[in-house]
Symmetry: C2
Subunit: 555 residues, 2 copies
């Protein structure tokens, strides 16, 4: 289980992680060029010792918590509180690096059982203290946004046992606080996997995946949290809730599914039962080049609508194909793949807009091979060309590494954030173009004479449509970083909604997307959410300020 003390309090990943730029000498030149700058400033983060924190919880309340949970389960020291002051969104990182942990909790508690969480919630309701469940704390949308002092951070790390691996029914039950590596290790040992590998996999938790409605990179094969979550135990201020059992039941609406995307506002997940699958014999990841994004998207659509069952189809747009290729080649002699790649691109006359598709095929040998062959039929039909295993292997090897780069860039005055959406296939090209130009325009307006770099890929696909994922890199306006970001975020969010996309495919609502929730749910939907919230959390202590729009924002 994640030891938070080994993780950065103000950034991504372990304190002692290797420098991601080792062996990439031209990286800064590439970045400077991307954002139209000649030099990049040094913008180091504040030290923990100088960070501004609110006071800890009053002594009588702390004593009461220690009585309920044990004294080892109640933490108030600077590092523990600062580390949980916020999630890991762009404004979260900017604030923490600037020494602003004023949103930190008044206490961090680590309950070990559902009963302890229930006791804690009674205390919270009595005293009116907001409580925010924290798994990995990796939300990139303000899911851990720090409600008004004195709030209590409920770290789920001690509820992290694997309680059962049921090989007959292919299910596993574990504490909600278990993180990705610990859960997979326990399952892998028995020959199984959950197959949920979001980019945050190393630090995020089972409970967080469900609460944030997560989708792993291989969701084509393994499904999203909405697909693999079968049953949960939830502590709510109105009591413990064990959601429906049974493989399926027509006994009224499936209420347990409401926990997917509930973001800690309806209850605190303490245990979950999930669908598991046999550990694949084969994990075959490969690259394909398309002459443009539209033909690549047509191949993905066609493969998914025709049951080819890949584990993953990830289509990079020309900018992302070019930039990630350039980053990969830094400090390396041109590989066979890059030479093949270049040759193919030239031969196809697709020099201007080549798009790399990473296809992943998993399962038994025969099964993976079959899904690859089936998928490649559609790839070829749309003009895609196989460029071998190297781009696949290279992507696979670094698939969890990108978030750590944000810290490196922020130390040189370069901002980076992501937005993601989903829409029907028929709207995808319009959606992508609108979002791309909204981002470019918003960034340019912020930095006269400079520009941003906007990369996009198709990340998840369904018979009905697909998700688009944008990464944007921009020169920071030093001293005005958060407001600068807010203006860009506002512009792109409005564009997403008006172009017919969802405000989020798998990052969640948190604090950052609240203004756009009502547009998706409608008035009736928002009233239903409020009714659910009022039933489970009548005093409103659970993660206030996330998910639900304020009353005034309603119309």
């Amino acid at each position: 289980v994640t030891d938070r003390r080994a993780l950065r309090w103000n950034g991504w990943g372990p304190v002692d992680q290797p420098d991601p730029l080792t062996g990439r000498p031209g990286f800064w030149a590439l970045v400077a060029d991307a954002v139209g700058a000649t030099t990049l400033p040094e913008t180091p983060a504040q030290e923990l010792e100088t960070v501004r924190l609110p006071p800890p919880l009053a002594a009588p309340h702390l004593r009461r918590l220690e009585e309920l949970l044990g004294s080892e389960a109640v933490l108030t020291d600077r590092r523990e509180r600062a580390a949980r002051a916020r999630g890991r969104s762009y404004p979260d990182l900017v604030a923490l690096r600037a020494g602003d942990a004023t949103s930190a909790p008044a206490a961090v508690v680590l309950p070990a059982t559902t009963e302890q969480v229930l006791a804690l919630l009674s205390f919270a309701a009595e005293t009116g203290s907001p409580v925010v469940p924290i798994g990995g704390g990796t939300s990139v949308v303000g899911g851990v946004s720090g409600p008004p002092w004195p709030w209590i951070a409920v770290d789920t790390a001690r509820m992290s046992s694997v309680l059962e691996v049921d090989e007959v029914n292919r299910t596993a039950t574990a504490g909600a606080g278990i993180d990705g590596p610990a859960l997979e290790a326990a399952l892998n040992e028995r020959g199984y996997t959950l197959g949920h590998f979001p980019q945050s996999f190393r630090h995020s938790t089972l409970g967080g995946w469900i609460a944030a409605s997560g989708a792993g990179q291989q969701s084509n094969r393994y499904g999203r949290a909405a697909d693999w979550m079968l049953r949960a135990t939830v502590a709510t201020p109105s009591g413990a809730w064990r959601t429906e059992a049974f493989p399926w039941s027509a006994a009224g609406p499936r209420l347990g599914s409401l926990l997917v995307g509930s973001e800690g506002v309806l209850g605190i997940l303490t245990e979950a039962t999930v669908r598991i699958r046999r550990l694949p014999e084969v994990r075959d990841y490969r690259g394909y080049i398309f002459p443009d994004f539209a033909s690549g998207a047509a191949a993905v659509r066609s493969a998914v609508q025709n049951d080819c069952r890949p584990a993953m189809l990830r289509l990079l747009d020309p900018a992302e194909t070019r930039f990630l290729g350039a980053v990969e080649r830094l400090g390396r002699s041109p590989s066979l793949t890059s030479r093949v790649f270049a040759r193919v691109v030239i031969a196809r006359g697709a020099g201007a807009t080549p798009c790399l598709l990473i296809g992943g095929f998993e399962g038994g040998k025969e099964e993976a091979e079959r899904s690859r062959r089936d998928t490649e039929r559609h790839i070829r039909r749309e003009g895609g060309i196989p460029v071998g295993a190297r781009p696949g292997r290279s992507w696979y090897a670094s698939r969890f590494d990108l978030p750590a780069l944000r810290d490196v860039l922020l130390a040189r005055g370069v901002g980076v954030d992501t937005v993601e959406t989903a829409g029907p296939w028929s709207d995808l090209s319009h959606l992508k173009a609108s979002i791309g130009s909204a981002l470019e325009r918003a960034i340019a307006e912020e930095a006269p004479g400079r520009h941003g770099l906007v990369l996009a890929h198709l990340s998840h696909s369904y018979p009905e449509g697909a998700a688009l994922y944008f990464t944007f890199v921009f020169p920071q306006r030093l001293g005005d970083e958060i407001e600068q970001w807010r203006r860009i975020k506002q512009a792109v969010s409005e564009t997403i909604v008006s172009a017919g996309g969802t405000i989020t495919h798998h990052h969640g609502i948190g604090e950052d997307h609240r203004p756009w929730l009502a547009a998706e749910k409608g008035d009736v939907g928002i009233e239903l959410l409020r009714a659910l919230k009022a039933t489970l959390d009548p005093s409103g202590v659970l993660n206030p300020g996330t998910l639900l729009p304020d009353r005034v924002e309603d119309r």
Copy 2:
């Protein structure tokens, strides 16, 4: 669209359907033997003219409805009201046949648009008139249970257009009142199918399938309503609700999924968008014989857990294998199949407990062939033997016919009903044995010296478990039919719940299963249902008496 005037007002299917016993001379001897009777009484149904009906809605209210909906959309005649007095459960049929339509609506209305339904709901809330949406009216669990007079039956038949078939996104949008054959005809014409074929397919509707959380016979391939329903429009007393769009979104809990299983208590579905698939080139249905139920179930589990992707795997237990085989052979010379069947059964030494598995494989030629080969690998490993296409074809040809037999049996003093459940694979054998003996015991207690016939099959399967479907035939206690049934139903329902099964896998709750809902949902779940109901239907006019338990039954 279904013309209700062409359907029986007190039974299943068209008025003019052919006698299902034609060409089956030994049928009654077989039935008499099955229930331990020497003779069977004649128990004809009352004629429509003698049926007891409550008065129609008061004239001022009728005039108001005619103003809102048009005079052609408001019906009060005997036949229209009697036909909608109840659904098609066992007690429903018994009551109607006995001339009891005292639960009939005070008026039948046929709104044509969502706006008209909204206007109707305002009228209902103002006047306190209960309203019950009726699609096909085929509920077998008291879903159309007739709340206190004067209730209004809202027939959705006029909201039955196919509004869009979107070939790019593989979705279709239609009025909720469209019935199975009309929807499939419109989709088939374009080369698509929804693939939802419950036994009620010919008469039930899109809205009904969603509201009752239906699962078609081929749900392995096409999914349940919960899987294929993407978006719906719902008229509620609190306004129109368009549920979430988008292939997927992490913007909070997916509220639209609450409509699956909502049984008309949260709103009236007026439109739905569904996932469609290519019409299969091949529909290959075949038989396999297993020496016993456990080995057959092991094969189904293994095939489903290993992604063999059959369209359907339906495993009959020894009693159902034997009885349906006997019915099929009535008045026919022994077919090649039945001879092969007999030979195989003898050769395997499985004379006592042979179980027929019907496997269905659909899709493109290669796809169907592949899924058959993959599935057969697991069938063989568990001792199953292919017995050719005939049992599959024969099942397929008669797959919607069984409900009509109930009317025939009821006319000779023989009752027949079904119960169904689902549980994890590890509990299946215990669940099946417990339910089977509970039914046999309950029937025997009711009819000293006689006995019942209890047939079972595994009907739907998932990686985590499967659904079991029981049909039971029993001699009626004439004059006490409904109470007799109630005692049997009570006994078997208690057994299902205590053996760890769900009270319903795909029939729904209705009036009949209400006492067992709280056991599944828990106190918190029931409070959530009440909160949803109170938000959407504050005056409680929508289908009162179904789904939600009465307050007193809560604990």
